[in-house]
Amino acid sequence: MKNPRVELKTVYGEVLVELGADNPDIFVVEADLMKASGSKPFLENYPDRHINVGVAEQNLVGIAAGIAAAGGIPFACTMANFMAKRACDQVAMSVAYNMFNVKLVGCYAGLTQEKNGGTHISFMDIGVMRSMPGMTVLVPGDSEEFRQAVRAASVFQGPVYIRMPKLLQGSLPGKTYEFEIGPCYQYGNGNDLTVIATGLATDIALDSLQVLEEAGIAARVLHVPTIKPLDTESVIRCARETRACITIEDHATVGGLGGLIAETLTAACPVPLARIGMQDAFGLTADLEFQLEHFGITASHVAAEAIRLLDGRGQNE
């Protein structure tokens, strides 16, 4: 993986301003973390529609629910960790239960929280959010996709969670599609293995294609920017067309993409499956690269798991 370079807060600020210009119903709600979210340009342009509730994540989500109840479209942002854990009940009862049109944005998500360490690294936000009935869960893989996800969420009717790492690649290499809510996107056509990836791990999965090819394994990557509702058709099709699947994410495999794919394939098409991600562990106080290596979220680990699952036998051999 090349070091991710685009700071998503810049993108978030820009796109909010565009949305605010088009739609007077857009509100922005913050909990003292504007420096992390980047919504200041919106505050400067539309001060009446920007609310900072202070260090109070439960209030953040509760107030967003109220704004939606009165017809507005609030974008509420705090660190993914606090959104999923501190405000969990508000997300469930005040937002999801009522199917309110609230857009929840979890910033500094996953391992990009880096040196703030174990108390701050969100390893369960995907799991929490996808367990909420009716919640749409978006986990973009590059900064373009993040921009499109925020736009798409603004016109989508219903509650949406967007996972926002601190940084992502500008654009995934070899991309041929424009992001929409719903589909998975396939890279490559190998018939030995499907690497199913989300968020910043998709870039790592794409790197693994090369490593796998060198090991004689023909693989494909299935990128999952919409975790919920899952494009089960693509997942099952890829599982059928290949001999094994590996999931990869910067999140706990319990509840995360790994859990999701295991649930999906066990019911529809059981295949050998390995799940790469955080395994029953809190994050570390370390930079992104170190943590990816530590948790085995790497192309070489994908290759090792592939060889194990396929008994070392790729079709090309």
């Binding site: 900072n52 260090v55 174990g118 108390t119 370390a286």
Partner: protein, 282 residues
Amino acid sequence: MSKDEQRIRTAEHWARKIRLDIIDMCCRVGPERKAHPGGALSAADIVAALYFDKMRIDPDTPQWPDRDRFILSKGHTCPVLYAALANRGYFSKDLYGTLRRVDGNLQGHPDMRKTPGVDMTTGSLGHGLAAGAGIAMSAKIDRKDFRVFVLLGDGELQEGLVWESAMASPRLGLTNLTVIIDINRLQSGGSVEQILPLHPLREKWASFGWNTIEINGHHMEEILAALDLAVLEQERPTAILARTVKGKGVKFMEDDNSWHQRTLTEEEYCLAVKMLESGGSA
């Protein structure tokens, strides 16, 4: 020198040392990592008074069951706690270099499993008072005479959980619990007054059933007197409202919230040392 004056001078001496160590850590941590010096400096006098005067502790036995407890609820300002613990002899200052390093003893937020002397893990704001109330309650039930001190940030007071614990503590009769609020008037995004004002703060705590005391949080005589009163109080838990200055002691950091989370350069460090060595802490 009278005995009282001796107490004051001693605590002030350690506050100065703690400040020097805070800026040392917040410089050494390097530009790749950033610690939180502003809120650490604003709390230095309070923490010095606790660790070098008021608290009944034994650095050789960090897990001593009858020790007084301190919870830094505003965990991001942990350099002030690490400096107090090191100066008090819980661990060597050699550990300062491990701040915010993987597997280091000094994590970016206090971790009771990694750092000797840390009584409660914090970092997610708003948790400290509830945990402190639980510990104080246990002391009451076990008929132990140790005390619990919890330091809260003023921005942190915006967390609803703080007020749930504030409501419960008087009801639970926690006379052994003292809250100190570091009112440095700044939070992450700027001025508390502009983001979400707290006043009338004293009335809020009083109306919840707390014994309240207002002090200048950099005036050692006032800090010690307030802590003495808190210990004497027989009926209610005590909330000490300490007016402070974020970045206190280093002129170019004072009241400048860019120092909420920021690394000092070598030059800034040298300048800060000069200011601290010449200025004193009051």
